[in-house]
């Protein structure tokens, strides 16, 4: 059987589930997975919070896929720098883009660039030891932080900012983050969203986890939990179970504070604010506070938008973390929808000028935008691979050089390819470093450190 060569760009969950589906097909497939960093696993390594070790166990599945026959890892290779998509198409029958949505949406308000105003992604990358965020600085001498956004990344940020460091130190959190968080003076975290408790995008599990942190209080204004008719319609939809659970949780917060199980002294408080649109971040050089326009909801259930009441609210703070959506990165030779921050596609076939771009596919957040959780990517990648395989009829007439051709191009560019065995060395070394501290691993946080492991 003629071998079909497929390149996957990106090594996060969506990339691995695409590889899995390809390697399970009836065809003879070679998969070449290309990753910018020397380390695989994308957001499972650098996004999933260190205190969620169980979720990180999906790496066991990816590790199995990496070691499968027909699978090759090309780490430390940057598409558009070390190799073009055009060259990938010359050497492969198909290219699947699986690069996620690493950029963050901006608030687009005055003061956004003041010192102390950060993207939540930068904080998450920093505490997870992602090399690109290694040198971020956060001023934890501040007493008050505002987190903008009511999704799970916002919840992660709140949890890592508020959890006692003693509960993080046995996790795989980066050592530099642990040291900085141990000195944190933060006492109040305000979590702000434009719409109401029914529209909040938290998974109920994440919200409950915040309420369960031992040394904090979770607060809401009880009036905010009085909901209108259209919200009740939203809650009555059986598909909308999470919103109902979230509302129940928000309503339970006041009683939690007086529960006898709570220790009497709480170090920190997390307050949830609703119906507030960011207006301005105040300060001369550093963040001093933030003002918001108050809203009410208008329109029909499931498409309720915000209408300003004309009133404003001001919250003094020294830190702002925005977590209001994420965007993909554009690549040369591939169309990009700048409004949506993703690659235009139909069921994973990349669409250019209304037509499928031959041989180019997309999956994961780069395909559907930043929604869903790890498992959502499996169904998504299966859909993409079904389309790709359907397009492969007759490709035997055009043999491709696959991994040999790819290696030759990269060698010519003097790229140091980090292959599977190299990654396994880095992996072993990280686990050994972690042992000293009783952690599952101590990640290398600079690319040079990772490559140094391979030179000995």
């Amino acid at each position: 059987m003629v071998k079909i060569h497929i390149a996957i760009v990106g090594s996060g969950p969506s990339g691995f589930y695409a590889a899995e589906a390809l390697l399970r097909s009836d065809l003879n497939v070679e998969v070449n997975m290309i990753e910018k960093l020397p380390t695989p696993f994308g957001l499972v390594r650098s996004g999933v919070a260190p205190d969620h070790p169980k979720l990180k166990q999906s790496i066991l599945v990816y590790d199995r896929i990496l070691k499968q026959d027909g699978m090759n890892f090309f780490g430390n290779v940057t598409v558009d720098e070390d190799i073009s998509v055009e060259d990938l198409l010359k050497t492969h029958h198909g290219v699947i883009m699986a690069c996620g949505a690493p950029l963050d949406n901006k608030l687009n308000i005055a003061g956004e660039n003041l010192q102390g105003s950060h993207a939540a992604t930068a904080f998450v990358g920093w505490y997870n030891g992602h090399p690109e965020y290694r040198d971020e600085q956060f001023d934890f001498k501040q007493k008050t932080a505002i987190v903008i956004g009511h999704g799970n990344v916002a919840a992660d940020v709140c949890r890592i900012l508020s959890k006692p460091v003693s509960e993080l130190k046995k996790s795989d959190i980066a050592e530099h983050a642990l040291e900085a968080l141990a000195e944190s003076q933060i006492r109040e975290i305000h979590v702000v969203g434009r719409r109401g408790p029914v529209q909040a995008k938290f998974s109920p599990k994440e919200l409950r986890e915040l309420a369960d942190i031992s040394n904090i209080t979770t607060e809401v204004d009880e009036n905010d939990c009085e909901i209108g008719e259209q919200c009740k319609v939203e809650l009555s939809d059986p598909k909308n179970i999470s919103s109902g659970k979230n509302l129940e949780l928000f309503r339970s917060f006041p009683a939690l504070q007086t529960s006898p199980e709570r220790p009497p002294h709480q170090l920190r408080k997390i307050k949830f604010h609703f119906y507030l649109t960011p207006q301005k971040i105040h300060g001369a050089e550093t963040v001093q506070g933030m003002s918001f326009l108050k809203n009410q909801l208008g329109g029909q259930a499931f498409s309720q938008t915000v209408i300003s009441t004309g009133e404003t609210e001001h919250i003094p703070c020294g830190l702002v973390f925005r977590s209001i959506g994420y965007r993909g990165v554009p690549f040369k030779d591939i169309p990009f929808n700048d409004d949506q921050g993703k690659i235009p596609n139909k069921e994973g076939r990349v669409i250019k000028n209304g037509k499928a771009l031959p041989g180019v596919y997309v999956t994961g957040w780069q395909k559907r935008g930043p929604s869903g959780i790890i498992g959502t990517n499996r169904a998504d990648s299966i859909e993409t691979v079904v389309c790709l395989l359907a397009d492969m009829a007759g490709v035997e007439k055009t043999p491709k050089s696959g991994s040999n051709g790819l290696t030759a191009i990269l060698k010519k560019q003097q790229v140091q390819i980090v292959g599977l065995d190299d990654w396994l060395k880095i992996d072993t070394s990280e686990i050994a470093r972690g042992k000293k501290f009783g952690k599952p691993r101590e990640k290398f946080t600079r690319v040079d450190e990772m490559l140094d492991v391979l030179s000995v």
Partner: protein, 101 residues
């Protein structure tokens, strides 16, 4: 705490959960599916994927469904893993209607 397949998973076998599971923790017999609690990573992606709302996080599960915890743990040990989504049973749509979903 693991996720649990409960009584709504009966006479349908939509099996959408299987495509959404990142770790292949579903096991099958002819009637229904079961989650292996030792493999499940608690991501919750299967919950909204199930057309008959059969799957719960234990924390949110009504108490009368508690016996299903044991059923899932025990049955998943002996039954085969289901690796990909399959055609639903012919009774599947009737089942969904019966449940009002």
């Amino acid at each position: 705490m693991p996720h649990i397949v409960t009584e709504n998973c009966q006479s349908c076998r939509f099996t959408d959960c299987v495509s959404h599971c990142p770790v292949e923790c579903f096991h099958e017999d002819d009637e229904r599916l079961y989650i292996n609690p030792d493999v499940c990573v608690d991501c919750g992606a299967c919950i909204p994927a199930c057309p008959v709302q059969a799957i719960y996080d234990v924390v949110d599960m009504p108490e009368d469904k508690d016996p299903w915890i044991k059923v899932n743990a025990e049955r998943s040990k002996t039954l085969p893993v289901i690796m990909s989504k399959q055609e639903p049973l012919s009774t599947a749509e009737a089942r969904r209607t019966e449940l009002g979903l």
